[in-house]
Amino acid sequence: MGLTITEKILAGHTNRKRVEPGEFIEARVDIALGNDITAPLAIEEFRKSGAKRVFDKEKVVLVPDHFTPNKDAPSAQQAKILRDFAKEQNLKYYFDVGRMGIEHALLPEQGIVGPGDLIIGADSHTCTYGALGAFSTGVGSTDLAAVMITGRLWFKVPETIKFIYRGKLNKWVSGKDLILYTIGDIGVDGALYKAMEFTGEIIFNLSMDSRFTMCNMAIEAGAKSGIIVPDKTTMEYVKSRIPHSAFRISNYKSDPDANYCEIREYDCSKIEPQVAFPHLPANTKPVSEVKDIPLDQVVIGSCTNGRIEDLRIAAKVLKGNKVPSYMRLIIIPATQNIYLEALKEGLIEIFLKAGGVVSTPTCGPCLGGHMGVLAEEERALATTNRNFKGRMGHPKSEVYLANPAVAAASAIQGRIVHPREVL
């Protein structure tokens, strides 16, 4: 019996030829990530254990991105714990305001994570890096502490579900729509504990940015990880960022006779832009079936859809248009580099002229932190990943999820619409 790419990466990090789904293993970790919410707890545990130094100062990455630039004194105190720890441990990868970006856009961009790596992060959306062909999963703060001390962690080898995407992609349909459609199909616990392997001709024609979006939301189906076997597009992306990478495409693929617990196929010609209704990412509908839902706010950004491709699409739709006077349009480039690129390409000017605001990189409103929190009975459409009750602010507010084109078009119309209504 052959192995899936996930099993191969896990076996490779335990120095064994193969591992079996269901088995407990202890694996080497290549990169361990924490943010301003989860790392303080991990650092507390690290200190309590009596540890003095992290296992490798080039493999522990701290990114204060959730409540930064700090929204209040207590959140500043939390961020300071990271800053002090990074200084004390002389960490190579610590990104403060000004260098900081949303962690899951920043790490791939900076070449810190790559194909074949085993990555853990004390943040549920750590599954994003599967887009590079890495095994990458979200864990808690105690897990992060354990890895900071030993460089190793216990895992249970997951079974893999294979998702095959065929056919032709419709206009305005992106990775976001494919993953929303998939979550709508299998439910918020449809891949509980499992690895989701995305494959098929559609996937291999997707840009890296769209692939990141898909793997980012694997957790919203309950999955342990999402993964896409690396190809030429991955190679191209990694080449300039990890110049000395030993990565070869041929090293990382699933065997033809690998074991999948389930295989699902989708005909993409039937998929149109999706909207997830409150209060679960699985409550999806095609946008053409959405009738008259007025909006107070639109947010374009986050670890799901704050990359340059997302901003380009939003700008294309927004160009020459103005949002209504009672609409708040908030656009958040995910990293400083993305921000700079958007500036150079003239996208920022388009956003400002349309009546939007552009924020420095932050997770901010996605988790109801700051920079666009909702009041009672307000309604937002966001390109983020979760629309749980109260996620973006007041428990009686509502969040709808969609791709950046739908978000931009809806901002112009003040209600949820198909992008073709604008362009």
């Binding site: 303080p40 707890l41 105690t142 897990d143 616990d189 932190g369």
Partner: protein, 179 residues
């Protein structure tokens, strides 16, 4: 480990934003977090819960964020154990890693009602509903995980002990589905 307490019943897909909303994540103090525990589902829970009480819930409990503040808030309330039809993966890990006992039982979770009294024996893998006079058998956790829970968390068990316990367990692990 043996536990006893009154039931607080919740439904399916209780997410970490409901267990502890992000606006409270500016502290790691369990007592402070406990004041807002499960506020998103039941505003009065934190006031009503008594030490030793047991949370009983449906599918996919703890879905969403990786915030360990969620099990920390639950532990901070004095909750002795969480029983669910199923748990979200990161929440499950977090509970084990911090030594908060959790159990998966579809039947026990479905049949228990608010204020029922439950008795739980972790090593035997048994839930007794004293009010309903029913016993539910469940697959006990692998020894390796039981040891982490009973020791009070992942960092309390040396790596060498973990390895030894895992080895004895290798053959019988296929039955346990979550993590």
């Amino acid at each position: 480990m043996k536990l006893k307490g009154g039931v607080h019943k919740f439904g399916d897909d209780v997410n970490t934003d409901e267990i502890i909303p992000a606006k409270y994540l500016i502290t790691t103090d369990p007592n402070e977090l406990a004041k807002h525990c499960l506020e998103g589902r039941n505003k009065n829970f934190a006031k009503r819960v008594k030490p030793g009480d047991i949370i009983v819930t449906g599918r996919n409990f703890g879905c969403g964020s990786s915030r360990e503040h969620a099990p920390l808030a639950i532990k901070g309330c004095g909750v002795s154990c969480v029983i669910a039809s199923s748990f979200a993966r990161i929440f499950f890990r977090n509970c084990i890693n911090m030594g908060l006992p959790i159990l998966e039982s579809k039947e026990a979770a479905k049949e228990a009602r608010q204020n029922d009294i439950l008795k739980v024996d972790l090593s035997k893998g048994e839930i007794r509903n004293i009010t309903k006079k029913k016993i539910y058998k469940i697959q006990p956790f692998p020894k390796f995980l039981q040891r982490i829970i009973s020791s009070g968390g992942l960092l309390k068990v040396p790596l060498r002990t973990q390895r030894k316990l895992r080895k004895t367990q290798r053959k019988s692990v296929r039955t346990q589905k979550t993590l």
